[in-house]
Amino acid sequence: MNLDKLRPAWKHYKAQQALEGPGAEDVLAMIEASEGHAPVLYSSSLLLQTFLFLFLLISCQGG
């Protein structure tokens, strides 16, 4: 069994797979959706950290 003999088959396989998607619209939708979610995640993370910071600040002021 020589793997080198299968190189043309691999080329053929890739060519077959290139006939399928994704289309340009699908790719654009994916990257735009990922960009759209990023600020939300960033905002919620920032909000949580601010809340924790304020909580610690208030807690440590007692005395």
Binding site: M1, N2, L3, K5, L6, R7, P8, A9, W10, H12, Y13, K14, A15, Q16, Q17, A18, E20, G21, P22, A24, V27, L28, M30, I31, S34
Partner: protein, 167 residues
Amino acid sequence: MEVHKTQFVQMIHQNRGIINSLCQLYYRRVEDREDARQDIILQLWRSYPSFRQESAVSTWVYRVALNTLLAKIRKEKRCLPSESLESTDEANWMAIPQADDDLQLLHQIIQSLRPQDKAVVILYLEGYKNREIAEMLAMSPTNVSTKLNRIKTTLKKQYINLSYESR
């Protein structure tokens, strides 16, 4: 930014054969393949600004795609169990209807390997040198060489009666 996106979409279009082949070889279920494809495309998009074109675009696509798939599989721990070559069932052939003998053999061989071994064999078939494969998969060249030799020996043993004798 829009030009950036257009170039990226075009790059994905030119390399969709690589991306689809890898997803097909690592996942059997259509939904899993689509998830994997989306993960790869998003990872490529995130890495796109840092791609300095020092290597061929296809090399960069292979590197990002394979490492994304391997990390995804490790994370999920629900990759398909590795099958022995003898136990690969008829259903596998359904994925490549009317495929010729070599294409079926290729599919059967790759499906039977463990995730990292699959990556090594795919890159070998693509024509990369051991040193390049090692760099792309963050392995040592010796490790790649050992893996390839082991895989070749196993295939030789297992296929000696299965495939070429029947021709």
